[in-house]
Amino acid sequence: MFLINCPFCGERDQSEFSSGGEAHIVRPKQPTELSDDEWAEYLFMRKNIKGIQFERWNHVHGCRKWFNVVRDTSNDKILSVYKMGEKPPVSYK
């Protein structure tokens, strides 16, 4: 059970959060310009990494804020958290 450091509330139990999948997938500004394949890429395709992964989490039973998490999926360690709109820490790129 993770202990997640919400950037707004501090460390809280995982049961207060919900996971929102891969982070930094930006909704296309002009969806109508996209081919079926390009749209499908945005809509359906997600990475499934063993190692360092960027994820969205929502403090749904707390401040209800969305934020980003860097997690090593091979050992479940959360390496960093940062707010929406912020860039991921350079060291994990």
Partner: protein, 1000 residues
């Protein structure tokens, strides 16, 4: 009655005699006993029958690893409990226990016959034997297995006991209160770390606390005396919490652990009352010290399962801790030094004993001590067979060959009434592996040891493979100093004398002259699997330990193979000719020992099982005989039966009243989201399929919300209250998800929008009045409100006062009737409802529930998201193309509406169905076909909503059908179990296509 209690100990209070019942017979023990020690004191070894062969089985151990002494406690329908280990159950006055696996009784049972037909019950016998014929399952196999399998009885009534959960946070958690755990806890707590020490036993001290061998000393004291001092000291430490009778059940990631504390299981019935029985501790620790110790290994030889055969160290504990001897003529069979400690303890108490040692010779201090006491030792010998049906009475030993692979010379027969076995020690690495840690294999003594950690934890003491006291103390101190980054000097000058050495001769399957096929060398006592079974599994091609385990069921009983896993692995490695350690181990899964359901659930039972949401009108519905339906967490009136009406009749009456005069619905449960901000209109434009910018203030509009994949997600009416203020309604079940989805887009995709969302579902109560007379009723309630179609047309909103309370009134309709929804602050909801009912009396205003609501909307062909849709329906599939704006550049899901898959013409589409026989009501979920002759039958779709309409006097249904849009007028078939129903595809709107009733 025989008495095997031969001396007093400080742990048994002989002034407090305790009577208990075992298998219906009354016995006595003392306070401090476990059920197992009390039975042994009474000379009882036989405690059950084995799972497969129904062989007599006795107590083997003194702890959590016990495979045989499994009991059913109590007989009350609500309190009886199966699978309790007698070795862990503390004795209390009035305890009633019975052996579990011994139908019809422990001394003679029908399953015993399996022992003689055992050649027919090989590995995988369940898979092989009970395969055929199928008809035998229900009548023969299943009842037989159930009767004879001895899996215990579940209580049949709700558990009346109270259970509790508690969250705690500590700097350091120490698991296990033996020597190393006590040292670790003391070091941590003295260094100002908030520390928790848990131990599953009643008292701290592990196996050292009853140690009385003069040759094992610390600081010139008996090791037990030294430890008692340590315990006295740690009890004074203010930032150390000690929890005994508390066992760790699971070790999860991020140092989150679950522990079960037993609070009343050791108390007599009358003292248990109104107390919390067990508490589940949810522990977060910054650091965890694992000091769970080790358990002794049995040895695998022919007939090693007879009652009276125990682990050597358990014999020692029963003697020195409980004052009970397991026999009067004991043989100890060992491959290492630890059985000598038992031997010397027995000797001191005058119990005759001798030792059979697999080793060719050994010369540690403790062996010299035994020799000097005149204890007979057979070195380089192996036990090859045992005798005695209900209890061991003799055994045979033979000399081992040089390589240990076979026996040589003549059999020597020795009589005995008890056999202790010691195959060395298995470190309890369960916690380490549960935490995600890896294991290493140490060849010298064939043990798995903790290796890499993924959590901030450390293993110390014998669970880390340090078996002698000197090593345990030195290494624990060093490791804890490093682990906690401290410099504790308390133990620097501790002087330890230990006479045992670690030398050991490990042979997994002991040699025998008898062919393996004719032996019974048990590995897993509880699941009755033998060395032969393991070898057979290998012969049949199984290689992976996980497969062999499942095929032979080794290690799959309630003890999870605590005693058997290592031997299974060893025999597989030997047979397959691979190195131990390369095979890996089976997975150690939580819980370490079984948990009761009550502990897991805690207080969340009965009315606390799930949150129940009730509207402010709920009380009125109850008083007026409503039947309720669960919609999400909400209790919604389903229908209001009158004078013994059944559901059908009530719904027919309610539906007719709503269309003929007036009906009233509690619509408070609909989700309500308050939307404010300068970009509120733009926001709605992006989340709904239709256009919102031009909606005038005071007007309402129906909206359809899609997922980004183009599928319908939710729907509802949104009202523009002022320039930058909207009130959105959602489906009852979808409210929370819609809010979350909208917040997600606002926070992550469109942070530039000035929009604020607030859930106001609970803040307003809603009474929805519909029907031709609804305007008259509204007029009575709001005499000052101009209800004319010019002032207050369909799809518009007014604020009005009921007496002096503000109301928001929407003229919107989900039934197709002239209809008003009155919203009021929730605290006035009940009054509003009663005033509506009062005002409606002269118009036969009829309260109706969700079923009538569903019927009325189906007559109008309005969809219910989640009933007529299932996450695969686009607006076009629902024949709702009219609601999708062609002009808007973008909205959630727009691009997906013209993906190659969503524009297919043969998608399932919503249609109406009329049965040829108007009285025939279709079943929701029924399949739809056009041709039942060709096989396989082509499934075209299914019925989503179906009702008998009293207003049309015929059956109507909605369905999704492949290419349904083009099928109007076509005949289709609904094949049912006993008939085929003929239907015709129709329009989805069955009543008032012209919408005349909205302005009636």
């Amino acid at each position: 009655m025989p008495n095997y209690r031969i001396h007093k100990t400080e742990y048994i209070d002989e002034t407090k005699r305790v009577s208990f019942k075992y298998d219906g017979k009354t016995y006595f023990g003392y306070e401090g006993d476990t059920l197992a020690s009390a039975l042994l004191a009474n000379g009882i070894h036989l405690v059950g029958r084995s799972f497969k062969y129904h062989r007599p089985r006795g107590i083997v151990s003194c702890g959590a690893e016990e495979p045989n002494a499994i009991c059913q406690i109590g007989s009350k329908k609500d309190l009886t409990e199966p699978n309790v280990r007698a070795t862990e159950l503390e004795l209390y006055e009035g305890l009633e226990a019975s052996s579990q696996n011994c139908w019809p009784n422990v001394k003679f049972d029908i399953g015993g016959i399996n022992n003689f037909i055992s050649p027919l019950i090989p590995a995988g016998f369940y898979y092989k034997t009970f395969m055929w014929p199928k008809s035998f399952w229900k009548k023969v196999y299943e009842p037989l297995i159930r009767l004879s399998a001895g899996l215990g009885k579940s209580p049949t009534e709700p558990d009346p006991d109270i259970y509790d959960h508690k969250y705690v946070h500590y700097d350091v958690l120490v698991i296990g209160g033996g020597v190393s755990g006590i040292i670790a806890a003391k070091m941590a707590a003295k260094n100002n770390l908030k520390t928790l020490l848990v131990d599953d036993k009643k008292i701290l001290g592990g196996s050292t606390i009853y140690q009385n061998n003069e040759s094992i000393k610390i600081d010139n004291k008996l090791s037990s005396e030294w430890l008692k001092n340590e315990i006295q000291e740690i009890k004074k430490l203010s930032n150390l919490t000690i929890k005994t009778r508390t066992s760790i059940a699971a070790y999860h990631g991020y140092n989150f652990l679950l522990a079960k504390e037993n609070l009343t299981d050791h108390l007599p019935e009358e003292k248990k009352k109104n107390k919390i029985r067990q508490r589940l501790w949810k522990i977060r620790a910054k650091k965890v010290v694992i000091a769970t110790g080790s358990i002794e290994r049995p040895l695998v030889f022919n007939n090693n399962d007879r009652p009276g055969i125990l682990l050597s160290n358990s014999i020692n504990k029963y003697l020195d801790y409980y004052g009970v001897t397991c026999g009067e003529n004991i043989i100890l069979f060992t491959n290492n030094d630890s059985a000598y400690e038992t031997s010397i303890s027995l000797h001191k108490k005058g119990i005759k004993n001798l030792i059979v040692d697999l080793r060719k010779s050994a010369s540690s201090e403790i062996i010299k001590q035994a020799e000097s006491l005149g204890i007979k030792i057979y070195f380089n010998h192996v036990v090859t067979n045992t005798f005695g049906y209900r209890k061991i009475n003799s055994l045979e030993i033979m000399k081992l060959s040089e390589d240990g692979n076979t026996t040589v010379g003549d059999k020597i027969k020795l009589s005995c009434d008890c056999l202790g076995m010691s195959g060395g020690w298995t470190p309890m690495v369960h916690m380490h592996t549960q935490s995600g840690g890896k294991l290493d294999f140490r060849n010298e003594d064939q043990v798995f040891l903790p290796k890499e950690n993924s959590e901030d934890q450390i293993s110390v003491g014998s669970c880390n493979g340090d078996f002698d006291l000197e090593n345990i103390i030195d290494k624990t101190v060093n490791k804890i100093n490093k682990f906690l980054d401290i410099d504790n000097q308390d133990y620097q000058d501790t002087n330890i004398i230990c006479s045992k050495e670690n030398d050991k001769r490990n042979i997994w399957l002991l040699p025998n002259k008898i062919p393996l096929g004719k032996t019974k060398c048990f590995i897993d006592f509880q699941n009755d699997s033998t060395a032969k079974d393991i070898k057979l599994a290998l012969k049949e091609g199984f290689r992976s330990i996980e497969h062999v385990k499942r095929y032979t069921t080794t290690g799959m009983a309630t003890d999870q193979g605590k005693l058997s896993n290592m031997h299974a692995l060893g025999i597989i490695a030997d047979t397959a000719g691979v190195k131990m350690g390369t095979l890996g181990t089976t997975t150690f899964r939580p819980p370490f020992t079984p948990l009761t359901f009550g502990t897991i659930v805690g207080r969340n039972v009965g009315k606390f099982f799930e949150v129940v949401r009730k509207t402010s009108m709920h009380e009125w519905h109850v008083k007026n005989n409503a039947e309720f339906e669960n919609v999400g967490q909400w209790k919604r009136p389903w229908y209001y039966p009158k004078n013994g009406e059944n559901m059908h009749d009530a719904v027919q009456r309610e539906s007719k009243a709503a269309r003929d005069s007036a009906g009233i619905l509690d619509a408070s449960t609909l989700g309500k989201i308050d939307i404010q901000g300068t970009d509120a209109s733009e926001f709605l434009n992006r989340v709904y399929t239709n256009a919102w910018s031009k909606l005038a203030i005071g007007k309402c509009r129906y909206g359809l919300m899609l997922n980004e994949d183009g599928m319908v997600y939710d729907d509802g009416v949104t009202t523009r209250i002022s320039e930058n203020h909207y009130l959105m309604t959602t489906t009852t079940g979808g409210a929370a998800n819609v809010l979350s989805k909208l917040e997600d887009y606002l926070q992550t995709e469109w942070p530039e929008l000035d929009v604020y969302l607030t859930s106001v579902t609970d803040h307003y109560s809603t009474a929805s009045i519909c029907g031709p007379n609804s305007k008259k009723i509204l007029n009575k309630l709001f005499p000052n409100l101009d209800l004319s179609d010019e002032n207050f047309p369909h799809m518009s909103f007014k604020e009005a006062k009921l007496e002096n309370i503000n109301c928001r009134i929407m003229r919107i309709s989900f039934t197709g009737e002239l209809s008003y929804e009155i919203n009021i602050e929730s605290k006035y909801g009940h009054s509003l409802w009663k005033m509506c009912i009062e005002a409606g009396k002269e118009f036969n205003l009829t309260p109706y529930g969700t079923e009538t609501m569903h019927l009325l909307r189906a007559e109008k062909g309005f969809i219910i998201v989640g009933q007529d849709t299932d996450g695969t329906m686009t607006p076009s599939d629902l024949q709702m193309d009219w609601i999708v704006s062609k002009k808007k550049y973008d909205f959630i899901g727009k691009r997906s509406l013209y993906r190659s898959d969503t524009i297919r013409e043969d998608r399932k589409q919503l249609v109406g169905l009329l049965t040829d026989d108007p009285k025939e009501i279709l079943e929701e979920g029924a399949q739809i076909v056009s041709d039942i002759k060709s096989k396989p039958i082509d499934m075209l779709g299914h019925v989503t909503s179906s009702y008998f309409s009293p207003n049309l006097n015929k059956s109507i249904a909605l369905a999704v059908v492949r290419s349904g849009k083009t099928m109007k007028g076509q005949k289709l078939i609904i094949p049912m179990e006993n008939k085929n129903i003929n239907v015709t595809v129709s329009d989805t709107i069955f009543l008032d296509k012209e919408n005349k009733r909205l302005n009636a």
